[in-house]
């Protein structure tokens, strides 16, 4: 009886160890996927910042052009004698 109980305990320990290794493997997979997800987020952040910077530059250029056009139109409107 004692011998059979020792074998059963050994089997249970082996099953527990196997389950523990499976859990560890699952956790490692999840952690790896989460790290990949963070890498993607970092890359996406850099790409988005670059695109937003280029878009901001374009908008600044457009704003300056609009200001220049406003000044030119204002000058031409203040001096209507040059059109006569």
């Amino acid at each position: 009886m004692a011998r059979a109980g020792g074998i059963t305990n050994a089997v249970n320990v082996g099953i527990a160890v196997q389950a523990d290794w499976e859990n560890r493997e699952f956790i490692s997979h999840i952690s790896l996927n989460i790290r990949r997800l963070f890498d993607f987020l970092l890359h996406f952040e850099a790409t988005t910042k670059s695109k937003l910077a280029s878009l901001n530059e374009k908008l600044d250029t457009l704003e300056r052009r609009l200001e220049l056009l406003e000044v030119q139109v204002g000058t031409a409107s203040d001096n209507p004698s040059i059109f006569t």
């Binding site: 695109k51 457009l62 052009r65 056009l69 031409a76 040059i82």
Partner: protein, 253 residues
């Protein structure tokens, strides 16, 4: 055990200029879902922990928790993909910026054309002025060298030139007539001959002509200065000579 709400599948759509508002709305919606998912995951983690501590069969709880974690990770990745796709579409599909650039370039070209037109007008006004200064007639010389009354055209100055040349010719004719009368009356008139001799004897008077004006001007000046006496004596001498010639013709046939 709570189940994670299934999010929308990430839509990999190409940027469409007309659906930019829809993309923006979709992006905001997916971002809100991701924020809600964060609190939902925290609540699910607390529930799994409590269930694991209070459950008799923990193996089943662990398996359910694993399954839930897998679904949660997939859902998070799905949400992140959706958000990144929408944001990428918004950033790439900047058609409004390109359209605004085109409109601004068009306005710039129009303003440049207006500036060129105004410069052309200013240059033409500077080059040619129609209104020239006008002077009164009595302030203008009879023979002006260059003064043009009507815009400096040569045709307009021709009448003045012809008029001045006509006056010069008339003065020359008058001078020649006067000189002929003087020449006619000079041989018979002693006073005039003596006067001419006197004038010839005196070098000052004979050579007092202006070298710039010439002998004609001297004769004209003498004619004008000696005009009354010379004219009367010439006329008398002319009458005498005509009488003598008539008598000679009658006497000598």
């Amino acid at each position: 055990m709570t189940t994670i709400q299934s999010s929308k599948q990430p839509s990999h759509q190409h940027p469409d200029p007309e659906s930019s508002d829809e993309q923006l709305t979709r992006f905001n919606k997916s971002l809100k879902e991701l924020r809600d998912l964060r609190s939902q995951l925290h609540y699910a983690a607390d529930h799994c922990e409590a269930t694991f501590l209070s459950a008799n069969n923990r193996k089943v709880v662990i398996e359910d928790t694993k399954h839930y974690i897998c679904e949660a990770v997939v859902t998070v990745v799905d949400h992140l993909g959706s958000i990144s796709s929408n944001l990428n579409g918004l950033l790439i599909g900047d058609f409004k910026v390109s359209q605004t650039e085109i409109q601004i370039d068009c306005m710039k070209q129009r303003i440049l054309a207006c500036q060129n037109y105004t410069h052309h007008l200013c240059l033409s006004n500077t080059r040619w002025k129609v209104e020239f200064p006008k002077h009164q007639q009595h302030y203008i010389l009879s023979n002006p060298p260059i003064t043009n009354k009507t815009g400096g055209s040569r045709d307009a100055s021709c009448p003045d030139d012809s008029k001045s040349t006509g006056n010069a010719e008339l003065s020359v004719v008058k001078f020649s007539i006067a000189k002929a009368i003087v020449d006619i009356g000079s041989p018979g008139d002693k006073s005039t001959s003596s006067r001419t001799q006197d004038s010839e004897s005196s070098p000052k008077s004979s050579n007092s002509c202006d070298p710039l004006l010439g002998p004609q001007a001297r004769g004209a000046r003498e004619y004008h200065t000696k005009r009354p006496a010379a004219q009367g004596s010439n006329f008398l001498s002319f009458l005498r000579r005509s009488k003598r010639s008539a008598y000679r013709k009658i006497l000598y046939g």
